[in-house]
């Protein structure tokens, strides 16, 4: 894992001291809320429905056990004993007191963490593949590139007041597990015919009220030009992105309005200019970073045998575990989606336990996934059964990854001041309904995603089944979307028709799955059947 150098630590420590002073001045009345709000937002501190909310960055979703323990300690000491893992691989605390915020940031800094650039119109925390460094299908570990981009974008003076927020994802495998094409910039590390590594740039994706899939604007940028090319993409956006209208300010609108070709031409022009400026960090810096992400000390002759005679364990292995690049090892996913539970929430005890288990079984490493689950990336197969037993005993052994119960849900109207409707109760009712009817297994892979408003924090556009909360004359109402997908064949869901009330939406989801079951052909997932038969049979069943 990356270790801070003296610059990283000094930057974070300085920021904590600065924020302590700003908070003090706010509490003493020397700063008004109008003056203070942008300052607290720059440190991840929002004001939400019930209290202040703190969003802590988890760069590219990677955590050490010590960091995970700290997240639990913060939940215990300053919040109400839990945290919410988000689709951007971060964690949010819902009950923070302003007077405590500087102490929390100071505590975080002791384990090389912070809340910088988790809000505001800057380059946000960079997300990545949750299986980075472990996946059998990766051509490289994407995290060194994400880390280089993190260092470049942290406090980058030119990009602290962009037209709007800016989200970057970096992957390096065949399968896109990070919804890369739904980011402002998606970077895929690729290999060219000569066997050299480079970066493919996808620019102008996003969700929110105008969802768009990022087109590929450049298929191969040599790694020693990664930062320069990124800078060129941002500069064109910073210059021409719309500042007159918040709803048209994201880069996706610029790329769409200019057209991919014209945007690309302008980026190339800027890139040519920037190449004369020598802004690219030396490759030695990338090598220095890479050394931090060296493989852990895998046991050379670890056995690939797994005793699957325990049926509960066998199901969990089949559902929640994924092939590892190293023989004898496996990637274990911990579902934060117990039936009827709150998607992405974990108690302080559970967070501590996961940290302990990472130390015992996964070389001290954990990952947060954009599906709001936790990963232990490097588990020896010989240890897997023992690990599962401990997880199961703590209510963390649910075997439902990528099923209809593994729902992504934003905080919605239970916590979020922008919400139109509650998301969590809908997720709870749906997972309960399917668990009770025993259909979860039959349905196989089915990605269901819920947002409480059009901002789409719950990725509803990208759900095989998506649900969007709307406000109908002061009453919560839910629209149903079908056919969305993230990853290699990214597509955007289509609205089925008029919305439903809270119970109605649960029934509507069930109806849609019945249409799938009645029509599916061999090996088809819900999404495949939908793509083959189209919207009409679903509409017919839903609205008759």
């Amino acid at each position: 894992m990356y270790k801070y150098d003296q610059y990283d630590q000094a930057m974070v420590d300085t920021r904590v001291a600065e924020f302590r002073d700003q908070t003090q001045r706010r509490l003493e009345g020397k700063l008004s809320e109008d003056q203070f709000k942008p300052l607290r937002l720059q440190n991840g501190l929002y004001l939400q429905l019930h209290a202040y909310m703190l969003r802590v960055a988890v760069p590219y979703g990677t955590l050490s056990s010590a960091q995970m323990h700290m997240l639990a300690d913060i939940a215990d000491k300053y919040d109400r004993g839990y945290g919410h893992f988000t689709t951007r691989q971060n964690i949010q605390y819902n009950w923070i007191k302003l007077e405590d915020a500087p102490d929390i940031l100071a505590d975080l800094a002791t384990v090389e963490m912070h809340a910088i650039q988790t809000s505001g119109n800057c380059i946000r925390n960079i997300s990545s593949d949750q299986f980075a460094g472990a996946a059998a299908d990766e051509i490289a570990d994407p995290r060194p590139y994400a880390e280089l981009l993190r260092q470049w974008s942290s406090f980058h003076p030119e990009f602290l007041a962009l037209p709007r927020k800016f989200k970057i994802a970096v992957i390096a495998s065949q399968t896109d597990r990070a919804a890369m094409k739904l980011h402002d910039i998606g970077i895929r590390i690729v290999k060219n015919e000569a066997g050299e590594l480079g970066a493919a740039f996808y620019v102008g994706g996003g969700m929110g009220r105008t969802p768009m899939i990022a087109p590929c604007i450049k298929e191969f940028v040599p790694l020693d030009q990664l930062i320069t090319y990124s800078e060129a993409c941002l500069r064109v956006y910073n210059r021409y992105g719309r500042r007159d209208n918040k709803y048209k300010a994201r880069i996706k609108i610029l790329v769409h309005e200019l057209g991919k070709d014209e945007y690309t031409r302008q980026v190339e022009e800027e890139f040519a200019h920037l190449q004369t400026q020598g802004i690219e960090p030396p490759l030695a810096e990338l090598e220095r970073i890479k050394a931090h992400f060296a493989d852990p000390a895998f046991e050379a002759a670890a056995s690939d045998d797994l005793d699957l005679s325990d049926p509960g364990f066998a199901l969990w292995v089949e559902r929640n575990c994924v092939a590892h690049k190293q023989p004898g090892y496996i990637i274990a996913n911990i579902s934060l989606k117990p039936v009827g539970g709150i998607p992405g929430d974990a108690s302080a005890e559970q967070i501590h336990l996961m940290a302990d288990l990472a130390k015992a079984y996964s070389f001290d490493e954990l990952r947060v996934t954009h599906a709001q689950n936790i990963v232990l990336p490097h588990v020896k197969k010989a240890d897997l059964h023992a690990l599962w037993q401990k997880l199961d005993a703590a209510g963390l052994g649910t075997a439902n990854l990528d099923t209809v119960e593994d729902i992504i849900a934003c905080p919605g109207l239970d916590y979020c001041s922008l919400a139109n409707a509650r998301s969590i109760p809908v997720a709870q009712k749906i997972s309960q309904r399917f668990a009770e009817t025993g259909k979860t297994e039959t349905l196989g892979e089915l990605k269901l995603k819920i947002s409480g408003c059009i901002n789409a924090c719950g990725h509803h556009h990208a759900g095989h089944i998506g649900i969007l909360g709307v406000d109908r004359k002061g009453v919560e109402n839910y629209q149903l979307l079908l056919g969305g997908c993230e990853g290699d064949d990214t597509s955007l869901g289509q609205i089925t028709g008029p919305g439903f009330d809270e119970d109605g939406i649960v029934g509507a989801v069930e109806t849609a799955t019945n249409v799938y079951l009645a029509n599916r052909q061999d090996g088809e997932r819900f999404l495949d059947t939908y793509r083959r038969i189209g919207m009409a049979p679903f509409k017919e069943a839903l609205y008759g």
Binding site: E33, L47, H50, W95, E99, D414, A419, E476
Partner: protein, 99 residues
């Protein structure tokens, strides 16, 4: 009736104007019709409350106060999905008041 609400500056807690102070209990809220802006400006200046705003509400038969919008009812009670963290953890029907 119109009632005034905001978040406590220090703790962020949801608070309601009682006529002379702020309370975390919505049933303590008083009608501020016509005076909302003046009270809001004074209290914000006194650094006690953050972002105060007036909302529509109804006096209930049992003396309670019910904000007109569901968002403010959730603010008044707490998250419906964590009854243990609401102001009325022991009342199994508290959630119904929100909806």
């Amino acid at each position: 009736m119109k009632i005034l609400t905001g978040n406590d500056l220090k703790t962020g807690a949801v608070v309601w104007w009682t006529g002379y102070d702020w309370s975390i209990h919505v049933e303590d809220a008083v009608d501020v019709d016509g005076e909302a802006d003046a009270i809001a400006a004074r209290e914000e200046g006194a650094r006690r409350v953050n972002g105060p705003y007036a909302i529509d509400a109804q006096r209930e038969d049992n003396g309670g106060v019910r904000p007109a919008h569901i968002k403010d009812r959730i603010r008044a009670l707490g998250p419906t999905v964590r009854p243990d963290l609401t102001l009325k953890p022991a009342d199994p029907n508290a959630g119904n008041w929100v909806i």
